[in-house]
């Protein structure tokens, strides 16, 4: 169905190839997952399938591409549109009309589908995607996930045989992302579509994929094969796969159920319960005075009560995560703290000073706020200038050395003179962080900071946030990403319908509120593991042995078929 032979591409003005000598085949009805770090060429690869690259972007293509026997480079994206449905990252920019029905019908009208058939196509598509109830809804009233579903419906209405999705969850919050990933899973199960999807969140899709394409970096050779063949070569994989890799289990577990099977076979299900250090950390931190206090804060938008008497304190050197369903009021709380929305009731204190009526631009000196879309904060010509602009706005001395030091801390020194919007998503986010951190705020508010980040960028962000904690900052992070939260949070708060309903140690709060747990918590329900490293060290500790050089418990002897390991009688042997 899709055939790439020795395909290379580079932009006309660039010397470096974005993708180089790529070969792979995708057979009809396959589910092909494309993964790799940000900027590795995933989007370019997908756009070559329908000819958007090079027809829309320009550039030089070498090699041969065939999609259902047609060369997309020759016929162009418009002609390919009936064969390849393409869904983009941002649902906000994919619509022209006001409501769902008209948007889909407009697509069919332009394809000159006879009016009698439009209703049929429309209803069949909405039904297949389970969104028939959204038919009369206005697009602006839909959640991000619902909008992305409508975008998928719009392209599927023309009944393409291939559906290509370019990081369809990267611009969505956690809950909306879950909706889309579930939908893709359902499409893969029920429809006879060939699906090619680029996605960072492998944990949800890996076990559906029968083909995995891994791009390790720009211009680097790619690996395209069955997931079991490609996963061992990938730098970052979901925790369940990582555990399998560390234990040397073959075939690698791809889903939670396969992971649970592995845990049972290895006899790890009865590990000693350990006390999470998280709760202790929180107790220690809470002993000091609060840096920021929110007292009975309420916010209303017309008749909608967005926040109801929320009381929260943030302490120095503590990372507090805030979770809750869409529309629970998480972003509104952050905006209220910074003064971007008016309070109907309540007071806000920064240490001993009340700031309830202080304008936002003044609060920004002491409270750093990173919104969901970091692009919104980038105005300047260069990265360095971006940081200096904040100092200028606050009337502070524009010390170049301070800005350079912060850029170094953020790992952005080499990009200091680049245009910020040309950088990758993760780098742009770090520039925006730098721009708000240069005033050395006491409080840092992060709204969905992992949105659109790959695993590597997420890990870097986690390290950065921990370094801010070490400097004494009080940090509040709104996130839907349970895995990220567990690696980071000292304390977890839950907001529900505008009310703060829980506050405590993360694993305990997660369990109390029945939030879908992280993979490791599902594998070890009695434990409070936050990372694969913790699992391995706990196993090693439990069996009184150390890890070998590759991080594998030294005394676990595994068979390649994943049989249960045995404990040798002899003393520990470090390999």
């Amino acid at each position: 169905m899709i055939r790439f032979r020795e395909v290379s591409f580079r932009y006309a003005t660039a010397e470096q190839w974005v993708i180089r000598r790529v070969n792979f085949d995708v057979s009809p009805g396959s589910f092909c997952l494309v993964c790799g770090p940000s900027g590795s060429g995933k989007s370019t690869l997908l756009r070559l399938i329908n000819g958007l690259v090079p027809h829309f972007s320009g550039g030089i293509v070498e090699g041969e591409i065939q999609v259902n026997g047609i060369n997309p480079i020759q016929v162009g994206p418009a002609a390919m549109s009936r064969l390849v449905g393409f869904v983009f990252q941002d649902p906000e920019t994919q619509f022209i009309l006001d409501n769902v029905e008209d948007e889909i019908a407009f697509n069919l009208e332009n394809a000159a589908i006879p009016p009698q058939q439009i209703t049929q196509h429309l209803e069949e598509t909405l039904h297949a995607l389970g969104i028939l109830h959204l038919r009369r809804r206005r697009l602006e009233s839909l959640s991000g996930g619902e909008k992305q579903k409508v975008a998928i419906a719009t392209v599927l209405s023309l009944a393409p045989s291939i559906l290509v999705l370019d990081e369809p969850t990267s611009q969505l919050d956690g809950q909306s992302a879950e909706e889309i990933l579930s939908l893709i899973q359902r499409l893969a199960r029920q429809q006879k579509l060939t699906i090619v999807v680029a996605e960072h969140r492998l944990d949800r899709l890996l076990h559906f994929a029968n083909q995995l394409i891994y791009l390790s970096g720009i211009g680097e050779p790619i690996r395209a094969d069955e997931p079991q063949q490609v996963l061992p070569h990938m730098a970052t994989v979901p925790p369940v796969v990582e555990l399998g890799k560390r234990f040397g289990v073959r075939p690698l577990p791809l889903s939670i159920s396969e992971g649970q099977q592995m845990v049972r076979k290895l006899g790890l299900e009865r590990l000693n319960h350990r006390t999470s250090p998280v709760g202790k950390k929180q107790m220690d931190s809470a002993a000091g005075p609060a840096i920021l206090s929110v007292e009975k804060v309420s916010v209303s938008f017309g008749k909608t009560q967005a926040l109801s008497e929320v009381t929260l304190q943030l302490f120095a050197s503590q990372i507090t995560c805030l979770m809750g369903a869409n529309g629970a009021g998480k972003t509104t709380l952050l905006r209220a703290i910074l003064g971007l929305v008016p309070l109907t009731q309540g007071r806000i204190w920064l240490q001993a000073k009340e700031i309830t009526t202080t304008p936002s631009w003044k609060r920004a000196r002491w409270i750093g706020y990173l919104p969901q879309d970091p692009n919104a904060l980038l105005f300047s010509e260069t990265v360095l200038e971006e940081l200096l602009l904040t100092l200028r706005n606050h009337g502070l001395p524009q010390e170049r050395s301070t800005a350079e030091r912060i850029l170094e801390g953020l790992g952005l020194s080499k990009h200091a003179l680049r245009y910020p919007r040309d950088l990758s998503v993760g780098e742009r986010q770090r520039v925006a962080l730098g721009a708000i951190l240069i005033t050395q705020p006491q409080v840092l508010l992060l709204d969905e900071p992992t949105r659109g980040l790959d695993e590597e960028a997420k890990a870097k962000l986690g390290d950065l946030v921990r370094s801010f904690r070490a400097k004494g900052m009080a940090i509040l992070v709104v996130t839907h990403d349970v895995e990220f939260m567990l690696t980071l949070a000292d304390r977890l708060c839950i907001l529900d319908a505008g009310r703060l309903i829980d506050d405590g140690a993360p694993p305990t709060v997660l369990r109390r509120n029945q939030i879908p747990p992280a993979q490791l918590l599902q594998l070890f329900p009695d434990q409070e593991f936050c990372s694969v490293e913790e699992v391995l060290s706990t196993i090693a500790e439990a069996w009184s042995h150390t890890l070998d050089k590759s991080g594998r418990p030294a005394l676990l002897a595994f068979h390649s078929d994943g049989n249960r390991p045995h404990r040798p009688e002899s003393p520990p042997e470090v390999r």
Binding site: D102, N110, A111, W361
Partner: protein, 353 residues
């Protein structure tokens, strides 16, 4: 097949007539009193949120934007047009364009022009919110379908621009920037331009991937382009024949030939435009009723236009400031602008369907 648009009660022709009448009105008079009446009428229609669900949640942004143009127009005209008897101040020196007297006449004329522009802006806003894009596409001949699609996509920019403006304003506050005066507002323009261009690029890519404006065969496209060039050749030939002093019938033949070529071109382009219509929109009695008020006003304006003395709409503050004439019956007729709103407010307007 569904009928009409679920969220707008009037046929697109009603709004087109309304819009055309307003443009006619604004182009025919510079009487500030009548223009204030027109602005108020359009503002009331806008404030009512239009008449349908499409127009729900009318924002104050266009109000302020349309009013902001008034002082800007006054300032610009006062500084650049140095005519009038009532002098406010004199700008000394020889500064090009600026030096000279600043008069009350120029201030009033500039403000009136600003008000006219503000009315056009507000009226377009109302039109945009009440006419869906498919309805707008159906208003235009099939031959101009490509153009209509491009225009429609451009129409989606207005609300997105407003949203982006608010986001940027907020982002500036997050970065510690206080937005207070005009100068601060200007600092938002560049980020607004950048984000708008990014949005435009993304939307264009999406539309391309979805196969919008799939052209007919390259051969027929080439033929259409050649025919267009041929038509232009006829026009040019006709003009040159007059220039060279050839007999008048030569130019007439060439101009008529050009007309025939362009007519054929539109016919062929219409045949090549492949699209269908999902909704059947009928013109109902209440559409006719809503249209009649604005048509009556349009008729009056046309009569005023052809009248040799143009006595009831004309006004100019130059050379000396006088009180603008105001006839209550003209103001009453201008209320015809409210006719879609009045018909929409009729308690049993459903029975008019």
């Amino acid at each position: 097949m569904p009928e009409g648009h679920p969220s707008t009660p009037f046929h697109a022709w009603v709004w087109l007539t309304w819009m055309t009448t307003l443009l006619l009105c604004v182009s025919l008079t510079r009487n500030p009193l009548y223009l204030v009446v027109v602005w108020l009428c359009v503002a009331v229609v806008h404030a009512a949120g239009g008449m349908g669900e499409l127009a729900r949640g009318s924002a104050p942004f266009p109000f302020w934007l349309s009013l902001t143009i008034v002082p800007l127009g006054a300032l610009l005209n006062a500084l650049t047009v140095h005519v009038g008897e009532n002098v406010i101040v004199t700008i000394p020196g020889r500064i090009p364009l600026l030096s000279g007297v600043v008069t009350w006449e120029a201030v009033l004329y500039g403000a009136t022009n600003g008000l006219a522009l503000g009315i056009i802006l507000l009226a377009f806003w109302v039109f945009n919110r009440n006419v869906s894009i498919p309805a707008f596409l159906r208003l235009l001949p099939r031959a101009f379908h490509s153009l209509a699609i491009v225009g429609s996509i451009a129409m989606t920019f207005i609300p997105s621009l407003q949203h982006q403006y608010q986001q940027i304003q907020e982002a500036q506050a997050i970065r510690g920037k206080r937005i207070s005066g005009l100068r601060d507002q200007l600092s938002l323009l560049l980020p607004l331009l950048v984000s708008s261009l990014e949005y435009a690029f993304q939307l264009a890519e999406v539309m391309t991937a979805r196969g919008f404006l799939v052209s007919s065969s390259p051969l027929s496209q080439r033929r259409l382009r050649l025919a267009f060039l041929g038509g232009l050749g006829f026009v040019m030939g006709g003009w040159l024949s007059r220039f060279w002093g050839l007999p008048p019938w030569v130019a007439a033949v060439l101009f008529w030939g050009a007309l025939a070529v362009f007519g054929a071109l539109i016919f062929l382009a219409a045949r090549q435009a492949h699209f269908t219509a999902y909704r059947v929109v009928r013109f109902r009695r209440r559409d006719a009723l809503a249209m009649s008020g604005t048509l009556l006003l349009a008729l009056l304006l046309v009569l005023n236009g052809v009248h040799p003395e143009r006595q009831f709409l004309d006004y100019t503050p130059y050379p000396a400031l006088t009180l603008p004439p105001f006839a209550p019956w003209v103001a009453f007729l201008l209320l015809g602008i409210l006719s879609p709103l009045m018909v929409a407010l009729l308690p049993n307007h459903d029975s008019l369907s």
